[in-house]
Symmetry: C2
């Protein structure tokens, strides 16, 4: 335990790192259960259908780049995935985005019912703080800094505000600035926080990291919005063209797909420039960011 | 700041303590806001309609009995009230208990809409952890112990499991033991945790306190269930006889009101016996517990 196995980055390479890191997240998520069957079944159903694990992978890779050991980051990586899953479960509810399909399977409220989705979403939010509070590797001072950051990121002035904007703009016009603000709040902040966690642990305050985090967070939402418009349901694992049908306000819908792709091209160049300045051109983080920019689903 | 004003219990007496303590909770809750108007309005609407503050008052009074200063407990007391409010906002949703009235006002989803109630409930849960993480009085080690306790109390094996049982028993029979287990999970645990917080802070592990906490938590639910059956909507501030109509399983419905009142009488005797053993017979905590047992709404 403890610091004995610092920096295992040599065990990762371009072809295996995603698989290795996702299997770490899976092993934490698979160990999560509830005592009662009526809670355990829907809880496991939701956690079993984990997605691409973008937030945990960014957390692990940033930690690796800073010399942290993966094992020490497991609870934080899982907490981020659980927190993200809570937001999806509630976002899919009929009174929200009303989606029947998520990650290729029936959404939780379709598989069970709405009350199950409300309660399991609530339990997942609780669980994310429990995973952090019960981590055995870092000092309580670090955990409180991370909890404080996460609550700001996801609370009434963060992700929740972004969700309110998203619903509001279904029936109202939005400027480019408003869409960018919404994207920062509902998506970018949590992605930035994934990378912030190892930075907080290491006490690293470099501006380059903050710039990189924001570029990745904003680009991720644009990529997601382009995919929603251009890919069929079978590829997406969720209902295609939902944004268009629901009159969602997204940058590709406002500016056109070509302009959005041009924006992404510039963002990618900026991100790789920073990666180079941080001397991470041979690090899996670089490959992963390149992959994100060329993601199709 | 700090420890300068330890134990202000002399400032409280039988007639003023509830007013004094509720005004402390109000001052924390009134200071809570959201940057964006579309979030701020429903957030304030919900927090403005705070209830009887049973959990904060029990927290403050237990703290006082242990020699803690109220000011140091403000964020924890508010966190408990905010957490309880999150559970009510989601519990009132149409897919849950479907209630139109709460604390004498329209429930949040009636006043706004379902998505607002889902999102504000979510934000309130987040806020409760933020209030604890940002407290300036106690060590991070204490805060992590409290967060850990709260997540266990309210998560998939605690309050959420109680809520699942509550919905399940609308369409299924329940034994007396199952109803008691449900009451512990959905109500008693959070009330016990309110009193646990000062006990954790002081490192106090006396069995008498644990017994007292359980008696109060279980009795509170029975009192609430009797009131639901016997008082009109105008007095309740919420729709009367909901339990009966929804075929909820409660102890007064299973055993009859007289048997439930007999149970309460025994519980009150036991509680006052413990209070006496703890040498708190002249403390406001005793008067408050007596009041709880004679509560009609």
């Amino acid at each position: 335990m403890g610091q004995s196995n610092l920096s295992t980055k040599t065990s990762l390479n371009k072809s295996n790192f995603e698989k290795v890191l996702i299997s770490r997240v899976d092993s934490v998520l698979n160990a999560i259960s509830a005592e009662s069957r009526i809670v355990d079944e829907p809880l496991r159903y939701t956690l079993k259908t984990r997605g691409k694990c973008v937030r945990p992978i960014l957390l692990y890779l940033t930690g690796d780049a800073l010399g942290l050991n993966y094992k020490q980051l497991d609870n934080y990586a899982a907490a981020l995935e659980v927190l993200h899953t809570y937001s999806l479960v509630h976002d899919d509810l009929p009174c929200m985005d009303d989606d029947d399909l998520r990650r290729g399977l029936a959404t939780l409220h379709k598989k069970y019912n709405d009350s199950t989705a409300v309660l399991i979403g609530d339990a997942l939010q609780t669980l994310s703080y429990q995973l952090i509070a019960e981590d055995k590797y870092f000092r309580d001072e670090i955990k409180i800094m991370i909890i404080s950051k996460l609550t700001k990121t996801t609370g009434q002035d963060g992700m929740i505000r972004g969700q309110f904007m998203d619903l509001y703009f279904e029936n109202n016009l939005a400027t480019q600035e408003e869409i960018i603000e919404m994207n920062i709040l509902k998506t970018s902040l949590l992605i930035e926080t994934a990378m912030d966690i190892p930075l907080i642990i290491k006490g690293c305050l470099k501006q380059e990291w903050a710039d990189l985090q924001r570029i990745i967070g904003l680009s991720f939402q644009i990529i997601d919005d382009i995919i929603d418009l251009t890919q069929p349901t079978e590829i997406l694992g969720k209902t295609a063209k939902k944004d268009l049908l629901a009159q969602k306000k997204t940058l590709p819908l406002l500016l056109g797909i070509d302009a959005a792709k041009e924006e992404l091209k510039n963002n990618k160049k900026d991100a790789l420039g920073i990666i180079s300045n941080l001397k991470l051109s041979d690090h899996p983080l670089k490959f992963y960011i390149e992959n994100l920019f060329s993601r199709v689903k």
